[in-house]
Amino acid sequence: MIRIANGQGFWGDWLEAPVRLVEQGPLDYLMLDYLAEVTMSILQKQKAADPALGYARDFPPLIGRIAKRIRERRVRVLANAGGVNAIACAKEVRRLAPDLKVAVVLGDDILASLDALLAAGHQMCNMDTGAPLSTIRDRIQSANAYLGAFPIAQALATGADVIITGRCTDSALALAPMIHEFGWRETDHHLLSAGTVAGHIIECGAQCTGGNCQVDWPSIPDLANIGFPIVEMEPDGSFAVTKHPGAGGRIDTAVVKEQLLYEIGDPVRYTMADCVADFTTIQLSDDGPGRVRCTGVRGLPAPPTLKLSMSYHYGWKAIGTLVFTWPQALAKAQTADRIVRTHLDQLGLHFEKIHTEFFGVNACLGPNAPPTPDPAEVELRIGVRGPDRKAVDRFTRELIPLVLNGPPGATGYGEGRPKAREIVAYWPALIPREAIHPHVEVVE
């Protein structure tokens, strides 16, 4: 049996979680997920400005902080913190933790070879819209393939204490140690599916231990000290999901089911780089307090393609807010909205979209919001987006004047006018796996 924990569900997750995981109990592997869909474009820009950047900068100091402990306890770390510059990330880790051996997995970043791939006939059409990549080629800011677990397992075979990858499937960070320890092969698609399901359960951190959980949420113990998840995987693909004893939160089958269904599509075909897992074969059972057992997972062989994650310049947007107070707060906010829209019309400004929400009334729930007769306050929230930065910039001047010029009782403008921000959009696509060449390097 091996113990694999996840200490970071996204870049920006709780900084103390990985530290507590290595301090509060036994672990064999610690995975950390840093990359959201459009993080790569931010990292490409940072690397363009400074060739020593382009990775998750939270990661090296974390390793510095836990280096002594993971060496003593022989915990190995796997993280996709490399972003678009895994070698620079590895060098910074080596600088802060010189006693640790560090290996990187490369080959996911295809930005430099994009034209060669297009010339070779790979259209890389948008998986959602079907549009070919050529329609936005000149606006691409990052392009990466989601690598699977086998190259990461190769990196573990070097004996490295810390494995740093760029883009890979989140669950591959959990699956790689299983492949490495148990000798699972590419053809073991049921086992790979079991490992992928285990990875899916823990990849969002505490979302499977009681975080963001509807199951009698007021009674979930000690969310302030929530325990991050640990998978105890057996060589036959059966596993338990648990947390360190005494850590906060809750794990039972109802909680784990919520996470199993999180951000999945067709449950029969959960398609990853290493296999296609069938979520309708999963058997869950409660296995004592704070422990859920999972067996029976089946799956299909890996698809012939890998998924690509690309990002491109889409346009500009800005979102501004003003708060209106009781009485008639909603009517005041609605009047202010009409004034802003009238001004935008008079200025002849055109946007792809103008979107208004009345926060505190119906911002999230829309037609299903419960009635709120004469609420204490309502936040007017207006957003615009479009291709023209100047038009978006001009919009940002239109809200604050209403404090003096509009309906009574406006406040909450202390942050000043909103900023126009670039929209970097996501372009999912597929490519034959032969076109991608993962490789491993040990960084001295």
């Binding site: 459009v38 959980c213 199993l260 951000e263 829309g366 959009a425």
Partner: protein, 108 residues
């Protein structure tokens, strides 16, 4: 008798681009049959009105006594494009808890 979906199930929702998905999990295995009968793709589509511009698909997971709904064009472009507060569909699951369900005598 009519009860809100929250009496029969709990939910979690999230995003993939402009699509949101809602997992609907029966509180008890017995309730799964009610979910199958009552919580159809058409009813979920109608529940969200203008918030969801595309189609709704339903998938069944009898092993988990759960349904998974995919809501297309549900997030004003999704991710970074969307101008909504809830650009990731995080609240769609909670919203669905208010869906009124017809329950037959003896089913609860």
């Amino acid at each position: 008798m009519k009860v809100p979906l929250s009496r029969l199930a709990h939910t979690r929702s999230g995003d993939k681009g402009d699509l949101s998905n809602i997992g609907v999990i029966a509180w008890k295995e017995d309730y799964y049959a009610i979910l199958l009968r009552e919580v159809t793709a058409d009813r979920v589509k109608a529940h969200f009105g203008d918030l969801v511009r595309g189609r709704v698909e339903r998938y069944e997971l009898p092993n988990l006594a759960s349904l998974n709904f995919l809501l297309y064009e549900a997030l004003d472009g999704g991710g970074t494009i969307s101008l909504r507060t809830d650009a990731q569909g995080k609240t769609h699951g909670a919203s669905l808890l208010a869906l009124e369900i017809d329950v037959r005598p003896g089913e609860l």
